[in-house]
């Protein structure tokens, strides 16, 4: 008894505090307030339900990765279709009616952008119809990712680093173009550059930037050359449309619908295409594009993947197995550069030991840099299969890879044939918007990123909000691809409802070609003149690469 009393005497304050906390916890309701409209302002699914489809909207499209139903060439130019619909268009999937006031007046032709500018009789546009939308303004942010001094120096050497003034000038010119050529239903479109000040690894910093973009800049949508995932996640939570979180699994976009979007295809699409290409064109045949050490051997596939994207890697592994072309070995590598460099020797040894003839590498843009160097050291010259992951199909990256290795690289890309930027639609749009401004080479990418948002805003009609944006974008016809233009679609028109580009071109690396968009040696050559190919349409014939 005395022991108990002693204990109580000594610890009474602590016990009292613990009891107080316990009472507080019991009595104070503090569960996250999940209400039907807590996130889904526009009737969209909450991002708290990963993997959820957009069934709530009644618009679930075909499963990502499934064969596309739209054949190329269905709509060569959306002018007619849009003209009859007046931009907003009926939404067959959602069953919504055309927005009031839209579609009554003739559609006027416009340069560069697909379709024509729908007429609008004027009147009320509904005012603040959506998050960060007001009666007279809608803001779209062009987010510029922060790069550290070392990388910036490398970018400057490659001629891809632009000053703030240059970026502002490009943004201004495109803003003028879009204001002139997109029906905004009485609102003014502000395109605002936002210069990130935190590296992509700084999640807390990126999330704070998302808060600022939402609360201070009042953005309706944000796009970037590539948007960091942490930034996208927080924007989506805040009901701001986040564009260009690259090549995430399809369920990433579906679970964040209708807020997460991307111009390029999702990881599931790339994986499905990889599996199809491999099974139809490569599997069971002798390796013929590698070095002497693998030449003539029956193809065996190996996968090197960065740990942080293992979900995509697992999906690819499963799809390859389903196609009857399993990987004989898979190797994971880390994201820390110094250790990833070290790991690459062992990774190559694993491929050699498993008699891998064809290597697929998915991960950051540096991964092939290390792997090709190690492979060269090891005098191992496999076929390198390029499957459009994270800029490996961009010349700027490929030129950094060991040439004696990358001359065995082939596969597919989602990029269109790259011309000099002065021949691009972005350049034309910029000149249309502000003839006095001489844009940078980055204008092409900026325009490609901004144009689907502008089209979506237009197609949403006067009552602009995330759900009408989705409905509008889904209602637009698919744009067919050509060698110099990518085919793209949203909604049920293509494989990924929330991602745009849905076709591919077959490529191979030509280290000596100088007829490139920037006049520098080394470019991805294209078979069949760069013909675009849809998922499900890869032929069974041997690839005509390196010819």
């Amino acid at each position: 008894m005395s022991v108990l009393m002693g204990f109580l005497r000594r610890y009474a304050p602590f016990l009292a505090a613990a009891a107080a906390v316990l009472m507080f916890v019991i009595l104070v309701p503090s569960r996250p307030a999940v209400t039907p409209d807590s996130l889904a302002l526009d009737g969209a699914q909450s991002s708290e339900q990963p993997g959820a489809s957009i069934a709530g909207e009644g618009q679930a499209g075909p499963l990502p990765g499934a064969a596309a139903s739209n054949a190329p060439g269905t709509v060569a130019n959306g002018t007619t279709a849009l003209a009859t619909r007046g931009g907003a268009g009926p939404v067959p999937q959602a069953g919504g009616a055309p927005p009031p006031g839209a579609g009554d007046l003739p559609c006027s032709p416009r340069p560069v952008l697909a379709g024509c500018k729908p007429g609008w009789a004027g009147g009320s546009n509904g005012g603040a119809t959506g998050h960060n939308v007001t009666a007279d303004r809608v803001t779209v942010v062009w987010y510029v990712v922060y790069v550290d001094p070392a990388l910036r120096s490398a970018q400057a050497a490659a001629g891809t680093a632009y000053s703030e003034e240059e970026i502002r000038g490009d943004v201004q010119a495109l803003q003028s173009f879009l204001r002139k050529n997109v029906q905004l239903y009485g609102r003014k479109l502000d395109v605002v550059p936002y210069f990130g000040s935190h590296p992509v690894s700084d999640n807390a910093g990126l999330k704070a930037e998302a808060v600022e973009i939402d609360q201070k800049v009042k953005a309706f949508a944000v796009t970037a050359a590539t948007m960091p995932v942490a930034l996208s996640d927080e924007l989506v939570r805040r009901k701001v449309l986040a564009w260009n979180t690259f090549q995430q699994p399809a369920n990433y976009y579906a679970s964040k619908a209708p807020y997460a979007w991307s111009v390029v295809g999702d990881a599931d699409l790339l994986n499905a295409s990889t599996a199809e290409y491999a099974s139809k064109r490569l599997a069971g045949k002798k390796a013929q594009f590698g070095g002497a050490d693998v030449q003539g051997k029956t193809r065996r596939f190996g996968l090197a993947y960065e740990g942080v994207i293992s979900a995509s890697a697992k999906d690819l592994i499963a799809r390859m197995e389903a196609e009857g072309t399993p990987f004989v070995t898979t190797v994971e590598f880390g994201s820390e550069l110094a250790t990833a460099e070290q790991d690459s020797i062992n990774a190559i040894a694993q491929f050699k030991a498993a008699d891998v003839t064809t290597v697929i590498c998915i991960g950051n843009v540096f991964a092939p840099l290390f792997l090709t160097k190690s492979a060269d050291n090891q005098q191992y010259y496999p076929e390198w299969f390029v499957n459009a992951y994270l800029f490996q199909d961009a010349e700027e990256a490929a030129r950094q890879y060991t040439p004696t290795q990358w001359e065995h690289a082939f596969g597919f890309t989602q990029l269109a044939l790259r011309r000099n930027y002065k021949e691009s639609r972005g350049y034309a749009a910029s000149k249309d918007g502000d003839p006095s401004w001489e844009p940078t080479a980055g204008i092409a990418l900026m325009f490609t990123s901004l144009s689907p948002i502008a089209r979506g805003i237009e197609a949403a009609g006067p009552a602009l909000q995330a759900s009408t944006f989705q409905r509008g974008l889904f209602s637009l016809p698919a744009l067919s691809g050509s060698p110099t233009e990518t085919g793209s679609s949203y909604g049920s028109n293509g494989p990924g409802p929330y991602t745009g580009i849905d076709d591919f071109a077959e490529i191979w690396w030509n280290p000596t070609d100088t007829q490139t968009f920037d006049g520098k040696p080394g470019s991805y050559a294209r078979t069949n003149g760069g013909r675009r190919i849809q998922l499900g349409q890869w032929p069974r014939t041997t690839p005509q690469v390196f010819s």
Binding site: V28, S153, N203, A204, D214, E336, I345
Partner: protein
């Protein structure tokens, strides 16, 4: 000879074990690769040991010290096209100069500072050196790319399937015994070597014997810089070189693990351990295809070796352990002054200022700023956990952010995946972190000071790449969105300002609790244990219980910070709980000062301020040079500055009232003498 016999036996046993355990066995080429990587790591490890023996610190700048000169080698070869060996010679001279400069300009300035402070200074030094690499890279333009960086021996090769060991691999393996042998001869057969050894055994005693310890220390750093240069220069053609990127803790750990096995003393054991660890790591990676497992292997090796070895009982080792301690506590206001009217007025003023600052932050700042400012109380909680663990108990943790991660994972999991109550999830998360901290506390019974620091760093590395990775630990890490609640059905914590106020309230409560704990019997016993374990035991106090209490309280605070952090971030991101974050918060705690609650707050303010409210060159200066300068002039941290300012004010007050306060006068005399 006996050592060589044991080494060969160990090699044979390890290789045999790997052949038996790993599916498919281990090809000879992988063993060769392991030997090469192990040799490169051994060169780093030997340098780490030398510096440890000289200065009793983990030199976090060691790899960067080599990377700077390796960048010079690489640039001289690929830029002006200098002969590789000529470039190596120039880099060797540069390494000698750099080592001397670092010792004279930085290390020597911290001669009297606690080892903790010097360790944190090397973290800042690593940043400065990384910037140096960048400058060299910018100054000398390469005409060929990194993959064309070959050496005169690159074309020689032995084919040991599935690895082709080029001349560069072989050079690394062959040079290791030459370098270590030469070092051993230098240390054992020359008078300089004898002086180095004497100095490392006890600086003050060596100085009394007439040994020029400062010059000896400079020489040690020069040797260490050359070893680091050799490691990095030999590494470049084998593995590659990434210019301007600080070599991460993952790589450092691969060199630290064998150094720990050699007890930071025995060079031959360090080298053998490095080679064996290299083989094991490469073999396991080859067999499993998973790189992250190497980090877990390193943790297992470090923890295993430290746990099975005999306890540290020697006086020399105890001296080392105590030199890692740092506690410049803020003393209470002297009793003679407490009754003065100015004291409560000043206290009220401080309180009003604090409340005013929070009110201003909660009402006048933008949402984005409020969001970032919320990190200050969260990080201050982590700082408090250091105050308890390091400031009071004298225990070092370089893995505190991993504990934050545990708290975050558990609290987030309960909230997001099980719909748990917010406050309850915070408590459970804190308890989970406290439980993990208790396990570390048990380890600390056998391992202390530097070795505990390395063990916790290994824990941080393994936790970041394995345990807190949702792909491997989906049972622990939340998958869904971690939403903030609406408190009392009216305070929506999704509002950034409301969450800032809430976190500040939690910090305030935690600070009051910590302060109360310090003045309680438990707090006094923890501090007494730090100062003299044997004396405390003589009073019948259980060392085990006391130390575990310190670890548990520290873990509880870190876990609480984690619970708040995961709600602040709305989830767990893969890159949030890296060992680099652990090193950052460790630096933060030392910069703030480990002796007081206000130090924790100031440290958090400094870290968040530098990281999020500065840009470009200012940020770079603040992180690297700023950290160094701050530690140089304020080894007790910002908290000590506050403490001194307060004492100065108290002295003035005492003089004005004509009150004699011995403790303050003593300080005054010391200041005058200085």
């Amino acid at each position: 000879m006996r050592g060589a016999g044991w080494s060969v036996t160990a090699f044979v046993l390890v290789v045999l074990a790997l052949q038996l355990v790993l599916p498919g066995g281990v090809p000879l080429g992988i063993i060769g690769l392991g030997l090469t990587i192990g040799s490169l790591n051994a060169l780093l490890a030997v340098g780490l040991v030398l510096v440890y023996r000289s200065d009793r610190i983990v030199n976090f700048a060691h790899a960067e010290l080599g990377a700077v000169t390796a960048t010079l080698t690489y640039k001289l070869v690929t830029g002006p096209g200098l002969n590789y060996f000529a470039a190596l010679l120039i880099s060797l001279v540069a390494a000698l100069v750099l080592g001397a400069l670092v010792e004279v300009l930085v290390i020597r300035r911290f001669a009297q500072a606690p080892r903790l402070v010097l360790t944190v200074a090397t973290i800042g030094l690593a940043q400065v050196l990384a910037y140096g690499e960048f400058l060299i890279s910018k100054a000398i333009t390469s005409t060929s790319s990194a993959d064309q960086y070959t050496t005169p021996v690159s074309n020689l090769a032995i084919n040991l399937p599935p690895v082709r060991l080029t001349g560069d691999f072989l050079l690394a393996v062959l040079l290791l015994p030459v370098v270590v042998g030469a070092l051993a001869l230098f240390l054992n057969r020359t008078s300089y070597g004898a002086a180095v050894r004497a100095s490392s055994e006890g600086r003050e005693r060596a100085a009394q014997l007439g040994i020029p310890v400062k010059a000896i220390s400079t020489q040690v750093w020069m040797i260490a810089a050359v070893l680091a240069m050799l490691a990095a220069s030999l590494r470049a053609p084998v593995v590659g070189i990434t210019v301007g990127t600080a070599l991460g803790p993952g790589l450092l750990l691969q060199a630290l693990a064998p150094a720990v096995v050699g007890r930071m003393q025995n060079l031959p054991v360090t080298v053998i351990a490095s080679l064996l660890l290299g083989i094991v790591a490469q073999a396991v990676y080859f067999a499993t295809g998973s790189a992250a497992i190497i980090d877990v292997v390193a943790l297992a090796v470090i923890a295993g070796v430290l746990l099975v070895r005999r306890g540290t009982t020697s006086r020399a080792e105890q001296a080392v352990t105590s030199s890692w301690r740092l506690a410049e506590e803020m003393r209470p206001v002297p009793a003679q002054l407490r009754h003065l009217r100015e004291i409560p007025v000043a206290r009220s003023l401080a309180l009003v200022t604090a409340v005013g600052a929070v009110t201003w932050a909660a009402t006048s700042t933008s949402d984005a700023t409020a969001n970032l400012l919320t990190l200050v109380p969260i990080y201050a909680l982590i700082g408090l956990s250091f105050v308890v663990l390091t400031g009071w108990a004298g225990q070092i943790s370089l893995g505190q952010f991993a504990l934050v991660g545990v708290g975050a994972a558990v609290a987030g999991k309960l909230n997001a995946d099980y719909g748990g109550d917010f406050l309850a999830s915070l408590i459970v998360g804190s308890l989970a972190a406290a439980a993990v901290a208790l396990v570390i506390g048990l380890v600390s019974l056998r391992v202390q000071g530097f070795f505990l620091a390395v063990t916790t760093l290994a824990f941080a590395v393994a936790a970041g790449s394995w345990f807190l990775d949702v792909r491997r630990s989906s049972w622990l890490v939340p998958v869904g969105d971690v939403a903030r609640p609406v408190l009392l059905q009216r305070v929506d914590l999704e509002n950034e300002r409301a969450f800032l106020v809430f976190c500040t309230l939690v910090l305030t409560l935690a600070a009051i609790a910590v302060r109360s704990l310090r003045t309680s019997r438990t707090g006094r016993v923890i501090v007494a244990m730090r100062d003299n374990e044997r004396a405390v035991q003589a009073y019948g106090v259980s060392l085990l219980q006391t130390r575990l209490v310190a670890f548990a309280v520290s873990g509880l605070l870190a876990g609480l910070a984690g619970g708040l952090f995961v709600h602040h971030q709305h989830g767990i991101s893969l890159t949030s709980y890296t060992p680099t974050a652990s090193l950052s918060v460790f630096s933060m705690a030392v910069i703030g000062g480990l002796g007081s609650v206000s130090g924790a707050l100031l440290g958090a303010g400094f870290l968040i301020g530098v990281q999020y409210f500065t840009e470009g060159p200012v940020r770079l200066l603040a992180i690297g040079f700023g950290q160094l300068f701050l530690l140089l002039f304020l080894p007790g941290g910002l908290g000590a500055l506050l403490s001194r300012a307060r004492d100065a004010a108290l002295r003035l007050l005492a003089r004005r009232h004509g009150i004699r306060v011995p403790s303050l006068l003593r300080d005054d005399r010391q200041d005058t003498q200085a």
